[in-house]
Symmetry: C4
């Protein structure tokens, strides 16, 4: 905060203190604010979900509507305060959490013009990702990092895989459109591609399903393909996890013989016996 260039030290203090409360979770006030925020998010999302149920909405509609507006105004004030106390408002505004914070209040205002759009308020759930920061869940954060790391390390393999899947579903979808045609539910190529995705991922709604023998045969091939193909992303991610856990074991080298691969609790080199 010492690097900030505000003219009024009074104003600076006010903003600095606000920053501490809103953005940090080290002080009691900051932690209390974050806990309150999390509960507000959960209650407001529950309100939106309950409001969509006809039976509940027609009885408690008024109350739920009031709660929704209450939280929206609260989150709007919070968003403005965040913009005020952060050092680089523009950078915060375009950051992931900045956008989520904005999107978390917009739907209520839009719902005045377009009724029903308030259902999109559930995007507030994304704000819960802050939960990790709040409770200093360092261990959980570490795990999340390992998962993200494994996914990032295999992003190229996954890109290749996704491209292959896209090519397969487009070609199989088109062929099925020619084989089955409109009368069997494959009314156009996008619908056929949708069917191919439903089948390849083994979801299998059954809203569209092949009726001709040739279509069934091709569908059977696609299913077995999908059944086997799932092994590819699983294999990729698993190998990354195994790699990550192996690397985590140790990177210490023996000072005497230079051997690596020692367990984290090793005191002596397992090859030459020298003290590590």
């Amino acid at each position: 905060m010492a690097h900030s260039s505000f003219t009024s030290s009074d104003k600076k203090n006010w903003r600095s203190r606000l920053h501490e409360i809103i953005f940090e979770a080290d002080t009691p006030a900051g932690k209390a604010f974050d806990v309150l925020l999390i509960w507000s998010i959960i209650v407001s999302v529950a309100t939106v979900i309950l409001d969509s149920v006809a039976g509940i909405s027609c009885v408690y509609g008024e109350t739920l509507y009031a709660i929704e507006w209450f939280f929206t105004i609260l989150f709007t004030i919070e968003y403005i305060l965040r913009l005020l106390c952060v050092k680089r408002p523009a950078r915060y505004a375009v950051s992931f959490f900045g956008l989520v914070d904005l999107l978390a209040v917009i739907p209520t205002y839009v719902s005045i013009l377009i009724p029903g759009s308030q259902s999109l308020l559930t995007i507030r759930m994304l704000r819960l990702l802050r939960i990790f920061r709040v409770f200093k869940l360092a261990a959980y954060l570490g795990e999340a990092k390992i998962i993200m790391g494994a996914l990032r390390a295999s992003r190229r393999k996954i890109s290749v895989f996704v491209l292959a899947v896209i090519i397969i579903v487009i070609i199989v979808g088109s062929v099925m459109y020619v084989i089955e045609g409109d009368k069997n539910g494959f009314s156009n190529i996008p619908t056929s591609i949708y069917w191919a995705i439903v089948t390849l991922t083994t979801v299998g709604y059954g809203d569209i399903s092949p009726q001709t023998p040739l279509g069934k045969a091709l569908a059977a091939v696609l299913m077995i393909m999908g059944y086997g193909i799932i092994a590819v992303p699983t294999g990729i991610v698993t190998a990354e996890f195994a790699q990550a856990s192996r690397e985590a074991v140790s990177t210490q080298a023996c000072p005497a013989c230079g051997a690596e691969g020692h367990d984290p609790n090793a005191v002596h080199c397992k090859y030459c016996g020298a003290h590590l």
Copy 2:
């Protein structure tokens, strides 16, 4: 048993003997009791299942009803005896098996007031978990421990994963509710979330399925996501299993300090440096 503080040694012997029969499986009587108990559980659960089938119930209903009450009274007596002979009845009553033993008899009594609740008697199946103890299936117990251990070791990664899944299904469910709406079966947000879970897990009942092009496109993205995401828990658990089996490999103890857990390729003890 020597530490117990009962006044009458006669009573103590009676309880001690009962404890041996009911809770242990080392003596012939104890083993016979346990084998009898397992068969009672299987027969009583089969009775409950058969009784729910209309065709069987209207013919053998009387007999099945009698068998059900017979086993319920038997298990009630057994439960009381367990309470009587155990040293700390309160602790047993709130333990996992104590609660299961209680829940295994309650539904029959409740069914006098609320007909149909006796179907819940199948919770007796959980008592079968004792099967491991009875037959001294140490090896199987070991395997169960490895599975539980692998799951426990990855519980944080799994928590992160489950939280991510919950956030995804809530947001996607809400968006689908806005896109598809009541007329296409997405009658409210909870129903839409249910649909999102059905789709993400690749179950795909088809009782609700998107009808609009936009809805189908979003569903396709969710399916491919679900198809790929399954790689994450699989990768986590597999890496843990691989880790566990690697650790289990070496059981060599150091001749100098007795430490275990050396790698198969270790030449010197990693703790004291002695030659293995």
Copy 3:
């Protein structure tokens, strides 16, 4: 063959030669017989499959019926010859392939009494497992052995897993029967258990699906459970495969320092440099 105790050397030769042709694949005659047999199996199974299609059956029914009887009589003669030329007919008759050979002809004879049972002739497919033996597909046989070995090594873990799955589906099935009841398709506990299996395995036919909010909530839990649980058998089998491939690497120990874990192509110990 020298150990056989037949009185007539002439008869012995006849049986010995027959044995060579039927049971072995080293001689040209034996190989020709086996190739012929494989084609007979494929053609006869195709006949049975085609005969079940109404459109084909009403036109070519007579021909297909004749082919079916032709192959059945052929396989019956072959079965009798196998019994005659094998040294221990009783042992062959109760072996896996002996039973399959018998079951591969019975349905045609039974179909005289019970029409329609000839469809079971497709069990002849199991005879194709001999294909590995015929073409000396040693490498494939090795792979099959690795797969079977991995499955056998993890059979205890898989038993524990299957027992857990059975307990889950019985209890969840019963609870769903109480929650949903007959009016929503959960007509009895066996049907509910069937639904639980359909859901847990992520098959999801949709012929039965929960209608009540509580039922949907429980179904959602079961789905996520099934989605995650699949990681367990995958993890078990994968760890076994990894273990098997690691063990296959090498079991050679260095004569100088005793270190293990050398690659199959290693000439010198990677730790001390001694010649292996």
Copy 4:
């Protein structure tokens, strides 16, 4: 190009330059051609997909038809040019990309005779596989090679697995045909086999589902089998990936003999024994 035996150096230069533009991506002209080609493919496939949608087709049908013919003629000219400038036209014509290039134009011409066949133009998507070459996406190509390598290394295990799956679905399909019969939708054995594949792969459309208790029991067994069996290809591919990533770990070369492929913990070269 120096090895070509064309008489006219002028013609050679023309062909050589054309080859550079069409087949290579090193020169600016070559790269521009390839980028243009990729956009042409994407636009033309999008045209075909949009043309199949009734609502779009009846409004913009004329335009889309014109675009389709434009690209077809363009790709035809390109195909002819490729044949002209390549050194061995016959070899190119029967190569994978040669066939794809040909199949990418044929459907439009065929659609004059057989309306509707132009949907098969989406096979042009396969031409996108060239994308890797164009942008010198060496890293991605490497990843694709690792995936292909892992699949190739496990092709025998996968063959054994696929054969087992085929035998299972044929036998289970036939048995279900006998159990359920025509009245429950299992109208013939091919349909029953299709159902078995739909169930084993956990797709589960629900267009055909067992109605009898015995059929449901067998279906339940098949589902649990399919649920567990998926562990086999996953295990195979994962083990291969792990193996591949382990092999990729060390890229250290021996200073004495230059051999590579040493383990990360190697101290001495495993071939010549020199200190690394």
